[in-house]
């Protein structure tokens, strides 16, 4: 993934006596999910080469973090994957808690899992909605998905007042306890959402056009996915049973009963179906959490300007788009000496070229959509 100036492979330019077309998809394009540029070399409709060109949304989050206190950095993490702010918060806080050895109370752990799973549903809804939009179904499926996402954002608004940039997680707990009436609202949402998932399945999984566009298109073998460091639903669609919630349980996932949905071929179809199945599992997790939710404090007593001991820590969670990791190096001051981010969207892009070459122009958009990247997280 180099910058754009490098010329394409000369031997692939001339195929059958015709000249390939160099087409820039983006940075302004309806379906690149943000300011993202794909430099594609096309032979007619067929794709010869694809090169993602990054950096249009670069904000230097990890550098900015060096000048902020540990609490202030939480607001930076919201803006990485802006469709999954809660998961980003949790990933950062898990690194910070490893660094400072703070133990959050049990209720805080449950609240965190509830928020993260709600976030996972919201993020997958957006992923599937935009994917079907990329397939050409104007914006009808997207608007239907937005309808459910709005309800989730309403729940978040009840809890912390924000809808996109939450900054909800804190060192040793969460910023607010559940408000009055939240349990009733979430129960209503879950009952409603289970019916809506059935509706989506009826509408999407039997559609002949969606089947013909997605089944068998751009398969990714499991071994290849591991070699390319793919994580998250894209890895599980290839049939690899790897989910941090099971393999390295954080928070309270070891006390919960849920399964990890797997695909078989790793084609576009599997990548979509795995996300739908994960939403069902999230509903299952949410119900358990709401049943088991203990009483007690929601936040441990910590300093606002925390000074962790010298050292380093790496915290990772299973974010909706894959494994999200934060690496913190402390020099004992109120700000980290260095912060590194392992963002799943960026690393999942590794495989984009392999998925697209040899398929049609229309498939680039769909393959790109099933990878479900977020440019805010790619460029950081």
């Amino acid at each position: 993934m180099s910058q754009g100036n490098e010329s394409m492979n000369e031997s692939e330019k001339n195929i059958g006596g015709t000249e390939s077309v160099l087409l820039n998809l983006g940075p302004q394009h309806p379906s690149t999910h943000g300011v993202f540029r794909l430099r594609t070399l096309l032979d007619g409709e067929e794709v010869v080469d694809v090169e993602p060109i990054l950096g249009y949304l670069h904000r230097g989050s990890s550098k900015l973090a060096e000048e902020r206190s540990y609490t202030q950095i939480i607001t930076l993490t919201d803006r990485l994957d802006y469709l999954a702010g809660m998961s980003n918060n949790l990933a950062y806080i898990s690194a910070l808690e490893k660094l400072t050895d703070v133990e959050p109370p049990e209720r805080a752990r449950y609240l965190r899992v509830i928020m993260v799973e709600l976030m996972r549903i919201a993020s997958h809804l957006m992923g599937i909605g935009f994917l079907i939009n990329d397939l050409g179904a104007w914006i009808t499926p997207l608007m239907h998905m937005f309808r459910e996402r709005e309800k989730i954002l309403d729940l978040f608004e009840m809890v912390c007042g924000a809808r996109i940039t939450f900054s909800y997680m804190r060192l040793g707990g969460v910023s607010h306890d559940l408000p009055e009436g939240f349990e009733k609202s979430i129960a209503e949402f879950l009952d409603d959402f289970e019916k809506k998932i059935e509706e989506y399945e009826n509408l999407l999984l039997g559609n002949e056009i969606i089947l013909s566009r997605m089944v068998g298109v751009a398969p990714l073998a499991g071994e290849r996915a591991i070699n390319c460091s793919i994580t998250g639903p894209n890895l599980r669609a290839s049939g690899v049973d790897w989910d941090l919630r099971k393999q390295d349980p954080y928070e309270i996932y070891d006390q919960l009963d849920f399964s990890v949905p797997l695909g078989e071929n790793g084609d576009n179809w599997d990548r979509m179906v795995v996300r739908i199945e994960e939403m069902k599992e999230s509903v299952h997790i949410l119900r358990q959490c709401m049943d088991k939710l203990p009483q007690g404090p929601y936040r441990a007593d910590t300093d606002f300007f925390v000074r962790p001991p010298e050292g380093e820590a790496y915290g990772m969670v299973e974010a909706p788009k894959g494994e999200l990791g934060f690496y913190l190096v402390s020099d004992g001051s109120i700000a980290p000496y260095r912060m590194g981010i392992r963002s799943p969207s960026f690393i999942n892009l590794t495989v984009l070229r392999e998925l697209c070459v040899g398929w049609k122009l229309a498939d680039i958009i769909v393959n790109f959509g099933t990878l479900d990247i977020n440019v805010g997280e790619v460029d950081r």
Binding site: N9, V21, L23, H29, P30, S31, E45, E46, V48, I132, N133, D134, L135, G136, A137, W138, I139, T140, M143, H144, R147, N207, E208, I209, I210, L211, S212, R213, V215, G216, N227, C228, T350, V351, R353, E354, V357, G358, W359, K360, L361, A362, D363, I365
Partner: protein, 408 residues
């Protein structure tokens, strides 16, 4: 300028009323080769027709936006006028008053000519369509043939627009468009042939009169083939690949803005209206007399139009290779088999009922053909329900996938 626009809008609103007043009178124009210059009536008729079409076009943009908005859990435009019905006119005025941009590297002449090339065939198509019973600009004996011939000129405009824009997205849209338009004309014409066989005439009015039983019951297969071929001709979902917004931005009209864009955008709806009218005349029974007949025809047309809007609100798009495969591997054989079966049936009933070749079939022969065809159609549906993955013709990349540097 604003006064002029205001007058135009008033004119467009008033003309349908005029049209309805004329509807109850005797046939306005009988344009034959004898009276080419039929005095002032010809121009009045032309004026009324074109104003009516402009009115319908502007209203259809609003209707589609409202309908699709309902399908998308939205409200849709509801600000301009009562229930937002004037939204189309507001958009039109906005587009006309915008700056007329032509890209620097575009071929200026062809770029300006292309919207006219796209719009004029569609306007010309209405010359033979009996919008009111007995009201046609030209009552041609080769009516349906003329419609097919004149609308196929539209692909020229699409290619001109795409090529002259000097943009890669536009070129892709144009190339896709031409491949698609040319392919889908074949099953379309073959299916229209079955209707011509049944009615014994190419004249649209005579085709309508020959329908003792509506031809949608007599020829369900031809109806479906024509419906989807027309969807492809009109670049409507699921065949809208030449202006696929999620792939090639807006296809052949990416670079267009202002009045030129208004022409192209309006033509889409005008063509949808025209083809829906043709389908309604070909398949939905007799044309009635007077205002009642006109409203009935509009109601039939609205059903087809609603189908097109519904497709757009719900269906995803198929890929280019799948589109061509559907045209040549499914629709073309189906249309050919259909035309052979229909011809055989007509020979059969002609020999039973002693009808001379060329005469219209009566009620009883049509009823026999209807029963046979509906049984065959049911059989076809049963067969198709067992076939999975109709669109999957092209499996797997043909090209060797090179290894990614730096991985492994």
């Amino acid at each position: 300028m604003q006064m002029l626009l205001f007058n135009m809008v008033v004119l467009i609103l008033v003309t349908p009323i005029l049209l309805l007043i004329y509807a109850n009178k005797e046939p306005l124009i009988q344009y034959t080769s004898q009276d080419v210059f039929n005095g002032i009536n010809f121009f009045i008729g032309l004026f009324i027709l074109i104003s009516f079409l402009l009115f319908v076009t502007t209203m259809l943009t609003y209707v589609e936006r409202r309908l699709v908005a309902r399908m998308q859990n939205r409200i849709g435009p509801n600000r301009v006028g009562p229930f937002g019905v004037l939204q189309g006119f507001a958009d039109l005025i906005k587009l006309i008053t915008k700056e007329d941009l032509i890209p620097t590297l575009a071929n200026r002449n062809i770029f300006s000519l292309a919207p006219i090339l796209i719009m004029s065939p569609v306007l010309l198509m209405f010359a033979v369509i009996p919008i009111l019973p007995g009201f046609t600009i030209a009552d041609l004996d080769i009516g349906i043939f003329y419609v097919v011939a004149i609308t196929s000129l539209g692909s020229l405009g699409v290619f001109a627009a795409g090529w002259a824009s000097n943009s890669k997205y536009s070129l892709y849209g144009a190339v896709r468009g031409v491949a698609q338009l040319v392919s889908y004309e074949v099953p379309l014409v073959l299916s229209i042939c079955t209707i011509v066989l049944l009615s014994g005439s190419l004249n649209l009015i005579e085709i309508a009169e020959a329908q003792e039983i509506p031809f949608i019951l007599v020829q369900p297969v031809a109806f479906l083939i024509i419906l989807f071929s027309v969807a492809a001709e009109l670049n409507r979902t699921p065949f809208d690949i030449n202006e696929a917004d999620s792939e090639i931005v807006a296809g052949f009209h990416t670079e267009y803005s202002g009045t030129k864009f208004a022409l192209i955008y309006g033509t889409e709806y005008l063509a949808a209206f025209g083809w829906s009218l043709v389908i309604a005349i070909l398949f939905f029974g007799h044309l009635g007399p007077g205002i009642g007949g006109f409203l009935m025809l509009m109601a039939k047309t609205s059903i087809i139009l609603f189908l097109f809007f519904w497709f757009r609100g719900t269906w995803p798009r198929v890929r280019i290779d799948q589109i061509l495969a559907i045209a040549w591997k499914i629709m073309f054989p189906l249309a050919t088999i259909n035309i052979i079966i229909t011809a055989g049936e007509i020979l059969f009933v002609q020999s039973i009922f002693n009808i001379n070749p060329g005469n219209a079939l009566g009620l009883q022969p049509l009823a026999i053909i209807t029963i046979i065809n509906i049984i065959l159609f049911a059989g076809l549906l049963v067969i198709l329900s067992f076939v999975k993955g109709l669109g999957q013709f092209d499996k797997g990349p043909k090209r060797y996938v090179p290894d990614i540097e730096g991985v492994n």
